[in-house]
Symmetry: C2
Subunit: 209 residues, 2 copies
Amino acid sequence: MSNIELNDKKIQILEVAESLFSEKGFEGTSIRDISKEAKINIAMVSYYFGSKERLLEALILHKTTDLKLQLENLLQENIEPLDKVNKLIEIYINRICLNKGIYRVLHFELNNKKREKSLNAFTELKKGNLKSVESIIKQGQDQGVFRKDLNIPLITPTIIGTFFHFHMNRSFFEELLDLKTEEMFNNYIKNNLTKHIQQTIKALLVYEN
Amino acid sequence: MSNIELNDKKIQILEVAESLFSEKGFEGTSIRDISKEAKINIAMVSYYFGSKERLLEALILHKTTDLKLQLENLLQENIEPLDKVNKLIEIYINRICLNKGIYRVLHFELNNKKREKSLNAFTELKKGNLKSVESIIKQGQDQGVFRKDLNIPLITPTIIGTFFHFHMNRSFFEELLDLKTEEMFNNYIKNNLTKHIQQTIKALLVYEN
DNA sequence: GTTTAAATTAAACAACTGTTTAATTTTGTA
DNA sequence: TACAAAATTAAACAGTTGTTTAATTTAAAC
Protein backbone atom coordinates (compact mmCIF):
# COMPACT_ATOMS: atom_id res chain seq x y z
CA MET A 1 0.00 0.00 0.00
CA SER A 2 1.15 3.48 -0.83
CA ASN A 3 2.35 5.65 2.00
CA ILE A 4 0.67 8.78 0.73
CA GLU A 5 -2.67 7.45 -0.38
CA LEU A 6 -5.28 7.50 2.33
CA ASN A 7 -7.67 4.57 2.17
CA ASP A 8 -10.68 4.21 4.43
CA LYS A 9 -8.80 2.39 7.14
CA LYS A 10 -6.05 4.97 7.29
CA ILE A 11 -8.56 7.79 7.52
CA GLN A 12 -10.45 5.95 10.21
CA ILE A 13 -7.26 5.67 12.23
CA LEU A 14 -6.49 9.35 11.67
CA GLU A 15 -9.90 10.37 12.90
CA VAL A 16 -9.63 8.31 16.04
CA ALA A 17 -6.12 9.66 16.59
CA GLU A 18 -7.31 13.25 16.21
CA SER A 19 -10.09 12.69 18.68
CA LEU A 20 -7.84 11.08 21.25
CA PHE A 21 -4.88 13.42 20.77
CA SER A 22 -7.14 16.40 21.27
CA GLU A 23 -8.69 14.82 24.30
CA LYS A 24 -5.64 13.48 26.06
CA GLY A 25 -2.68 14.96 24.23
CA PHE A 26 -0.14 13.23 22.02
CA GLU A 27 1.96 11.76 24.79
CA GLY A 28 -1.13 10.97 26.81
CA THR A 29 -2.55 8.81 24.04
CA SER A 30 -1.13 5.34 23.50
CA ILE A 31 -1.21 3.37 20.30
CA ARG A 32 -3.22 0.83 22.23
CA ASP A 33 -5.79 3.50 22.99
CA ILE A 34 -6.03 4.32 19.32
CA SER A 35 -6.26 0.75 18.11
CA LYS A 36 -8.84 -0.08 20.74
CA GLU A 37 -11.03 2.85 19.76
CA ALA A 38 -10.53 2.24 16.05
CA LYS A 39 -11.07 -1.48 16.54
CA ILE A 40 -7.87 -2.50 14.82
CA ASN A 41 -4.79 -4.42 15.84
CA ILE A 42 -1.99 -2.57 17.62
CA ALA A 43 0.42 -3.39 14.85
CA MET A 44 -1.69 -1.72 12.20
CA VAL A 45 -0.60 1.78 13.18
CA SER A 46 3.03 0.92 12.63
CA TYR A 47 2.06 -1.04 9.54
CA TYR A 48 0.24 1.89 7.95
CA PHE A 49 2.16 4.89 9.21
CA GLY A 50 5.50 3.51 10.37
CA SER A 51 5.44 5.06 13.81
CA LYS A 52 3.37 7.13 16.19
CA GLU A 53 5.38 10.19 15.24
CA ARG A 54 4.65 9.73 11.56
CA LEU A 55 1.00 9.16 12.36
CA LEU A 56 1.00 12.68 13.77
CA GLU A 57 2.64 14.00 10.62
CA ALA A 58 0.04 12.32 8.45
CA LEU A 59 -2.71 13.72 10.62
CA ILE A 60 -1.47 17.28 10.32
CA LEU A 61 -0.99 17.03 6.59
CA HIS A 62 -4.45 15.54 6.24
CA LYS A 63 -6.08 18.36 8.15
CA THR A 64 -4.35 21.46 6.83
CA THR A 65 -4.52 20.97 3.09
CA ASP A 66 -7.72 22.68 2.08
CA LEU A 67 -7.75 25.78 4.28
CA LYS A 68 -5.22 27.33 1.92
CA LEU A 69 -7.58 26.88 -1.00
CA GLN A 70 -10.49 28.31 0.93
CA LEU A 71 -8.58 31.52 1.67
CA GLU A 72 -7.41 31.93 -1.90
CA ASN A 73 -11.00 31.73 -3.08
CA LEU A 74 -11.98 34.43 -0.62
CA LEU A 75 -9.29 36.69 -2.03
CA GLN A 76 -10.88 36.60 -5.46
CA GLU A 77 -14.36 37.56 -4.28
CA ASN A 78 -15.47 41.02 -5.31
CA ILE A 79 -16.93 42.39 -2.08
CA GLU A 80 -16.31 45.24 0.35
CA PRO A 81 -13.03 45.00 2.31
CA LEU A 82 -14.81 44.91 5.64
CA ASP A 83 -17.14 42.15 4.47
CA LYS A 84 -14.11 40.25 3.29
CA VAL A 85 -12.53 40.55 6.72
CA ASN A 86 -15.73 39.37 8.35
CA LYS A 87 -15.85 36.40 6.02
CA LEU A 88 -12.24 35.67 6.83
CA ILE A 89 -13.08 35.58 10.51
CA GLU A 90 -15.97 33.24 9.85
CA ILE A 91 -13.74 30.93 7.82
CA TYR A 92 -11.18 30.79 10.62
CA ILE A 93 -13.76 30.06 13.28
CA ASN A 94 -15.55 27.50 11.20
CA ARG A 95 -12.25 25.82 10.43
CA ILE A 96 -11.17 25.49 14.00
CA CYS A 97 -14.64 24.36 15.02
CA LEU A 98 -14.70 21.68 12.37
CA ASN A 99 -11.23 20.41 13.13
CA LYS A 100 -11.92 20.66 16.81
CA GLY A 101 -9.01 18.94 18.36
CA ILE A 102 -6.28 19.14 15.82
CA TYR A 103 -5.45 22.77 16.54
CA ARG A 104 -4.74 21.88 20.11
CA VAL A 105 -2.29 19.29 18.91
CA LEU A 106 -0.85 21.67 16.36
CA HIS A 107 -0.11 24.41 18.81
CA PHE A 108 0.98 22.41 21.77
CA GLU A 109 2.54 19.21 20.66
CA LEU A 110 4.41 20.82 17.81
CA ASN A 111 6.33 23.46 19.68
CA ASN A 112 8.38 20.93 21.59
CA LYS A 113 10.97 18.74 20.13
CA LYS A 114 12.16 17.85 16.70
CA ARG A 115 8.93 17.06 14.83
CA GLU A 116 10.36 19.27 12.13
CA LYS A 117 8.47 17.71 9.30
CA SER A 118 5.07 18.29 10.88
CA LEU A 119 6.15 21.72 12.01
CA ASN A 120 7.26 22.76 8.55
CA ALA A 121 3.89 21.89 7.05
CA PHE A 122 2.25 23.98 9.73
CA THR A 123 4.63 26.89 9.24
CA GLU A 124 3.94 26.95 5.52
CA LEU A 125 0.23 27.02 6.25
CA LYS A 126 0.66 29.99 8.55
CA LYS A 127 2.75 31.85 6.00
CA GLY A 128 0.08 31.35 3.37
CA ASN A 129 -2.58 32.54 5.79
CA LEU A 130 -0.64 35.67 6.55
CA LYS A 131 -0.23 36.47 2.85
CA SER A 132 -3.98 36.20 2.38
CA VAL A 133 -4.69 38.46 5.34
CA GLU A 134 -2.09 40.96 4.15
CA SER A 135 -3.69 41.06 0.74
CA ILE A 136 -7.18 41.63 2.12
CA ILE A 137 -6.07 44.37 4.50
CA LYS A 138 -4.13 46.16 1.79
CA GLN A 139 -7.15 46.15 -0.47
CA GLY A 140 -9.03 47.98 2.28
CA GLN A 141 -6.16 50.38 2.86
CA ASP A 142 -5.96 51.23 -0.84
CA GLN A 143 -9.65 52.03 -0.82
CA GLY A 144 -9.11 54.31 2.16
CA VAL A 145 -11.40 52.26 4.40
CA PHE A 146 -8.74 50.87 6.78
CA ARG A 147 -6.14 52.84 8.68
CA LYS A 148 -2.57 52.59 7.45
CA ASP A 149 -0.61 52.08 10.67
CA LEU A 150 -1.75 48.52 11.30
CA ASN A 151 0.50 45.76 12.51
CA ILE A 152 -0.83 43.19 10.07
CA PRO A 153 1.00 40.08 11.39
CA LEU A 154 -0.74 40.62 14.74
CA ILE A 155 -4.25 40.54 13.31
CA THR A 156 -4.44 36.78 12.89
CA PRO A 157 -3.30 36.20 16.49
CA THR A 158 -6.05 38.55 17.58
CA ILE A 159 -8.71 36.62 15.68
CA ILE A 160 -7.56 33.08 16.29
CA GLY A 161 -6.16 33.75 19.74
CA THR A 162 -9.45 35.14 21.01
CA PHE A 163 -11.42 32.26 19.64
CA PHE A 164 -8.88 29.74 20.77
CA HIS A 165 -8.73 31.05 24.28
CA PHE A 166 -12.50 30.89 24.49
CA HIS A 167 -12.46 27.33 23.26
CA MET A 168 -9.66 26.29 25.57
CA ASN A 169 -11.59 27.57 28.57
CA ARG A 170 -14.77 25.99 27.34
CA SER A 171 -16.00 24.57 30.64
CA PHE A 172 -15.36 27.88 32.38
CA PHE A 173 -17.48 29.79 29.89
CA GLU A 174 -20.11 27.08 29.78
CA GLU A 175 -20.65 27.63 33.47
CA LEU A 176 -20.31 31.40 33.36
CA LEU A 177 -22.66 31.92 30.43
CA ASP A 178 -24.96 29.08 31.36
CA LEU A 179 -24.48 27.20 28.11
CA LYS A 180 -25.92 23.89 29.11
CA THR A 181 -25.90 22.00 25.83
CA GLU A 182 -23.50 21.52 22.97
CA GLU A 183 -26.02 23.35 20.81
CA MET A 184 -26.16 26.35 23.11
CA PHE A 185 -22.38 26.51 23.16
CA ASN A 186 -22.14 26.40 19.39
CA ASN A 187 -24.88 28.99 19.07
CA TYR A 188 -23.00 31.31 21.38
CA ILE A 189 -19.94 30.97 19.19
CA LYS A 190 -21.97 31.63 16.08
CA ASN A 191 -24.01 34.54 17.40
CA ASN A 192 -21.93 36.21 20.09
CA LEU A 193 -18.28 35.26 19.92
CA THR A 194 -18.01 35.64 16.15
CA LYS A 195 -19.75 39.01 16.37
CA HIS A 196 -17.44 40.12 19.15
CA ILE A 197 -14.36 39.24 17.14
CA GLN A 198 -15.72 40.91 14.03
CA GLN A 199 -16.58 44.00 16.05
CA THR A 200 -13.13 44.03 17.61
CA ILE A 201 -11.31 43.71 14.31
CA LYS A 202 -13.55 46.30 12.67
CA ALA A 203 -12.85 48.76 15.45
CA LEU A 204 -9.15 48.06 15.14
CA LEU A 205 -9.17 48.48 11.36
CA VAL A 206 -11.22 51.66 11.03
CA TYR A 207 -10.95 53.43 14.38
CA GLU A 208 -8.94 56.63 14.08
CA ASN A 209 -7.11 57.45 17.28
CA MET B 1 7.55 18.25 56.84
CA SER B 2 4.37 20.17 56.25
CA ASN B 3 2.56 19.54 53.04
CA ILE B 4 1.68 23.16 52.48
CA GLU B 5 4.91 24.86 53.42
CA LEU B 6 7.27 25.30 50.53
CA ASN B 7 10.90 24.95 51.48
CA ASP B 8 13.75 25.54 49.10
CA LYS B 9 13.88 21.99 47.85
CA LYS B 10 10.17 21.89 47.11
CA ILE B 11 10.37 25.15 45.22
CA GLN B 12 13.38 23.91 43.31
CA ILE B 13 11.41 20.84 42.24
CA LEU B 14 8.43 22.99 41.27
CA GLU B 15 10.59 25.21 39.12
CA VAL B 16 12.15 22.30 37.30
CA ALA B 17 8.71 20.76 36.88
CA GLU B 18 7.32 23.98 35.44
CA SER B 19 10.15 24.22 33.00
CA LEU B 20 9.83 20.63 31.85
CA PHE B 21 6.03 20.55 31.79
CA SER B 22 5.97 23.65 29.63
CA GLU B 23 8.62 22.21 27.38
CA LYS B 24 7.40 18.67 26.99
CA GLY B 25 3.93 18.63 28.49
CA PHE B 26 2.73 16.92 31.63
CA GLU B 27 2.46 13.42 30.21
CA GLY B 28 5.63 13.92 28.22
CA THR B 29 7.64 14.63 31.35
CA SER B 30 8.60 11.76 33.61
CA ILE B 31 9.42 11.97 37.27
CA ARG B 32 12.84 10.70 36.33
CA ASP B 33 13.26 13.67 33.99
CA ILE B 34 12.39 16.01 36.82
CA SER B 35 14.59 14.39 39.40
CA LYS B 36 17.49 14.25 36.98
CA GLU B 37 17.20 17.95 36.15
CA ALA B 38 16.64 18.90 39.77
CA LYS B 39 19.48 16.60 40.87
CA ILE B 40 17.38 14.76 43.41
CA ASN B 41 16.37 11.16 43.94
CA ILE B 42 13.34 9.82 42.08
CA ALA B 43 11.56 9.07 45.32
CA MET B 44 11.75 12.67 46.52
CA VAL B 45 8.88 13.81 44.34
CA SER B 46 6.55 11.28 45.90
CA TYR B 47 8.05 12.03 49.28
CA TYR B 48 7.38 15.74 49.03
CA PHE B 49 4.21 15.92 46.97
CA GLY B 50 2.68 12.45 47.18
CA SER B 51 2.28 11.91 43.47
CA LYS B 52 2.94 13.43 40.08
CA GLU B 53 -0.64 14.63 39.93
CA ARG B 54 -0.36 16.43 43.24
CA LEU B 55 2.91 17.94 42.14
CA LEU B 56 0.93 19.59 39.35
CA GLU B 57 -1.63 20.84 41.83
CA ALA B 58 1.08 22.32 44.03
CA LEU B 59 2.65 23.95 40.99
CA ILE B 60 -0.57 25.62 39.92
CA LEU B 61 -1.35 26.80 43.41
CA HIS B 62 2.16 28.13 43.77
CA LYS B 63 1.92 30.13 40.58
CA THR B 64 -1.55 31.63 40.70
CA THR B 65 -1.73 33.04 44.20
CA ASP B 66 -0.56 36.60 43.82
CA LEU B 67 -2.13 37.63 40.52
CA LYS B 68 -5.41 38.07 42.33
CA LEU B 69 -3.81 40.53 44.73
CA GLN B 70 -2.18 42.43 41.90
CA LEU B 71 -5.52 42.96 40.18
CA GLU B 72 -7.26 44.07 43.33
CA ASN B 73 -4.60 46.71 43.88
CA LEU B 74 -5.14 47.98 40.35
CA LEU B 75 -8.84 48.37 41.07
CA GLN B 76 -8.12 50.80 43.89
CA GLU B 77 -5.88 53.07 41.83
CA ASN B 78 -7.37 56.45 41.05
CA ILE B 79 -6.58 56.84 37.34
CA GLU B 80 -8.45 57.22 34.07
CA PRO B 81 -10.47 54.14 32.99
CA LEU B 82 -8.49 53.76 29.78
CA ASP B 83 -5.18 53.96 31.63
CA LYS B 84 -6.49 51.35 34.00
CA VAL B 85 -7.33 49.04 31.12
CA ASN B 86 -3.89 49.58 29.65
CA LYS B 87 -2.32 48.75 32.98
CA LEU B 88 -4.49 45.66 33.20
CA ILE B 89 -3.18 44.50 29.84
CA GLU B 90 0.38 45.10 30.97
CA ILE B 91 -0.21 43.10 34.13
CA TYR B 92 -1.60 40.18 32.16
CA ILE B 93 1.26 40.16 29.68
CA ASN B 94 3.87 40.54 32.37
CA ARG B 95 2.30 37.72 34.33
CA ILE B 96 2.26 35.27 31.50
CA CYS B 97 5.77 36.27 30.49
CA LEU B 98 7.08 35.73 33.99
CA ASN B 99 5.36 32.41 34.45
CA LYS B 100 6.30 31.39 30.96
CA GLY B 101 5.41 27.78 30.83
CA ILE B 102 2.79 27.33 33.46
CA TYR B 103 0.04 28.88 31.39
CA ARG B 104 0.64 26.34 28.72
CA VAL B 105 0.17 23.62 31.28
CA LEU B 106 -2.83 25.37 32.77
CA HIS B 107 -4.67 25.62 29.51
CA PHE B 108 -3.79 22.34 27.97
CA GLU B 109 -3.22 19.77 30.64
CA LEU B 110 -6.12 20.91 32.74
CA ASN B 111 -8.91 20.59 30.23
CA ASN B 112 -8.60 16.84 30.05
CA LYS B 113 -9.54 14.46 32.74
CA LYS B 114 -10.35 14.64 36.40
CA ARG B 115 -7.69 16.93 37.81
CA GLU B 116 -10.56 18.67 39.49
CA LYS B 117 -8.59 20.08 42.36
CA SER B 118 -6.12 21.89 40.13
CA LEU B 119 -8.90 22.91 37.81
CA ASN B 120 -10.98 24.42 40.60
CA ALA B 121 -8.11 26.62 41.72
CA PHE B 122 -7.71 27.80 38.15
CA THR B 123 -11.44 28.42 37.71
CA GLU B 124 -11.55 30.50 40.86
CA LEU B 125 -8.66 32.55 39.57
CA LYS B 126 -10.49 33.19 36.31
CA LYS B 127 -13.66 34.19 38.09
CA GLY B 128 -11.73 36.70 40.19
CA ASN B 129 -10.05 38.08 37.08
CA LEU B 130 -13.38 38.53 35.37
CA LYS B 131 -14.80 40.40 38.34
CA SER B 132 -11.84 42.78 38.25
CA VAL B 133 -12.24 43.39 34.53
CA GLU B 134 -15.97 43.91 34.92
CA SER B 135 -15.39 46.46 37.64
CA ILE B 136 -12.86 48.40 35.58
CA ILE B 137 -15.02 48.43 32.47
CA LYS B 138 -18.07 49.55 34.40
CA GLN B 139 -16.12 52.43 35.89
CA GLY B 140 -15.40 53.58 32.36
CA GLN B 141 -18.98 53.08 31.28
CA ASP B 142 -20.28 55.11 34.20
CA GLN B 143 -17.96 57.93 33.22
CA GLY B 144 -19.31 57.76 29.70
CA VAL B 145 -15.92 56.90 28.23
CA PHE B 146 -16.66 53.32 27.18
CA ARG B 147 -19.56 52.12 25.09
CA LYS B 148 -22.32 50.28 26.87
CA ASP B 149 -23.00 47.31 24.59
CA LEU B 150 -19.79 45.45 25.37
CA ASN B 151 -19.56 41.71 25.88
CA ILE B 152 -17.34 41.94 28.93
CA PRO B 153 -16.57 38.22 29.43
CA LEU B 154 -15.03 38.19 25.96
CA ILE B 155 -12.54 40.95 26.65
CA THR B 156 -10.11 38.83 28.64
CA PRO B 157 -10.03 36.15 25.92
CA THR B 158 -9.22 38.93 23.45
CA ILE B 159 -6.30 40.16 25.52
CA ILE B 160 -4.85 36.91 26.74
CA GLY B 161 -5.77 34.94 23.63
CA THR B 162 -3.93 37.33 21.36
CA PHE B 163 -0.84 37.32 23.50
CA PHE B 164 -1.02 33.60 24.04
CA HIS B 165 -1.36 32.80 20.38
CA PHE B 166 1.64 34.96 19.64
CA HIS B 167 3.62 33.18 22.31
CA MET B 168 2.52 29.75 21.18
CA ASN B 169 3.71 30.47 17.66
CA ARG B 170 6.91 31.97 18.91
CA SER B 171 9.27 30.39 16.43
CA PHE B 172 7.03 31.37 13.54
CA PHE B 173 7.03 35.02 14.55
CA GLU B 174 10.72 34.96 15.38
CA GLU B 175 11.40 34.03 11.80
CA LEU B 176 8.75 36.30 10.30
CA LEU B 177 9.73 39.40 12.26
CA ASP B 178 13.43 38.60 12.31
CA LEU B 179 13.70 38.50 16.09
CA LYS B 180 17.05 36.83 16.41
CA THR B 181 17.66 37.03 20.13
CA GLU B 182 15.65 36.48 23.28
CA GLU B 183 16.06 40.16 23.98
CA MET B 184 14.67 41.19 20.60
CA PHE B 185 11.69 38.90 21.11
CA ASN B 186 10.93 40.33 24.53
CA ASN B 187 11.35 43.85 23.22
CA TYR B 188 8.87 43.17 20.46
CA ILE B 189 6.36 42.01 23.05
CA LYS B 190 7.00 45.06 25.17
CA ASN B 191 6.95 47.64 22.40
CA ASN B 192 4.78 46.24 19.64
CA LEU B 193 2.54 43.43 20.81
CA THR B 194 1.46 45.14 24.01
CA LYS B 195 0.75 48.30 22.04
CA HIS B 196 -1.26 46.36 19.49
CA ILE B 197 -3.40 44.76 22.15
CA GLN B 198 -3.92 48.04 23.95
CA GLN B 199 -4.86 49.70 20.67
CA THR B 200 -7.25 46.86 19.86
CA ILE B 201 -8.99 46.98 23.22
CA LYS B 202 -9.16 50.76 23.18
CA ALA B 203 -10.77 50.69 19.75
CA LEU B 204 -13.21 48.06 20.95
CA LEU B 205 -14.09 50.01 24.09
CA VAL B 206 -14.55 53.49 22.65
CA TYR B 207 -15.33 53.00 18.96
CA GLU B 208 -18.90 53.95 18.18
CA ASN B 209 -20.26 51.97 15.31
C1' DG C 1 -7.68 -23.40 -8.47
C1' DT C 2 -3.11 -21.69 -7.75
C1' DT C 3 -0.07 -18.10 -6.77
C1' DT C 4 1.33 -13.74 -4.86
C1' DA C 5 0.86 -9.83 -2.36
C1' DA C 6 -1.60 -7.30 1.15
C1' DA C 7 -3.84 -7.25 5.44
C1' DT C 8 -4.37 -8.79 10.02
C1' DT C 9 -3.23 -11.10 14.11
C1' DA C 10 -1.24 -12.59 18.79
C1' DA C 11 2.84 -12.64 21.07
C1' DA C 12 6.99 -10.99 22.52
C1' DC C 13 10.59 -7.22 22.92
C1' DA C 14 13.12 -4.07 25.77
C1' DA C 15 12.58 0.32 27.60
C1' DC C 16 10.13 3.37 30.39
C1' DT C 17 6.26 4.68 33.59
C1' DG C 18 4.75 6.29 38.65
C1' DT C 19 5.09 4.58 43.09
C1' DT C 20 6.66 2.01 47.24
C1' DT C 21 9.84 -0.17 50.20
C1' DA C 22 13.26 -0.63 53.46
C1' DA C 23 17.75 0.73 54.60
C1' DT C 24 20.88 4.50 55.28
C1' DT C 25 22.43 9.17 56.06
C1' DT C 26 21.74 13.75 57.68
C1' DT C 27 19.87 17.03 60.73
C1' DG C 28 18.14 19.17 64.77
C1' DT C 29 17.30 18.80 69.78
C1' DA C 30 17.88 17.75 74.60
C1' DT D 1 27.00 12.23 73.10
C1' DA D 2 22.55 10.18 72.45
C1' DC D 3 18.20 10.16 70.52
C1' DA D 4 14.47 10.94 67.25
C1' DA D 5 12.73 12.90 63.27
C1' DA D 6 13.53 14.18 58.64
C1' DA D 7 15.85 13.58 54.40
C1' DT D 8 17.90 10.78 51.00
C1' DT D 9 19.05 6.70 48.70
C1' DA D 10 19.13 2.35 45.64
C1' DA D 11 16.32 -1.22 44.48
C1' DA D 12 12.34 -3.33 43.28
C1' DC D 13 7.25 -3.20 42.04
C1' DA D 14 3.80 -4.03 38.59
C1' DG D 15 2.00 -1.66 34.45
C1' DT D 16 2.42 0.60 30.31
C1' DT D 17 4.91 2.27 26.41
C1' DG D 18 6.14 1.98 21.02
C1' DT D 19 7.76 -1.30 17.96
C1' DT D 20 8.90 -5.77 15.76
C1' DT D 21 8.32 -10.49 14.67
C1' DA D 22 6.62 -14.40 12.54
C1' DA D 23 2.51 -16.79 11.56
C1' DT D 24 -2.06 -16.62 9.65
C1' DT D 25 -5.92 -14.91 7.06
C1' DT D 26 -7.86 -12.30 3.30
C1' DA D 27 -7.96 -10.46 -1.33
C1' DA D 28 -6.65 -10.01 -6.04
C1' DA D 29 -4.61 -11.59 -10.39
C1' DC D 30 -3.78 -14.87 -13.53
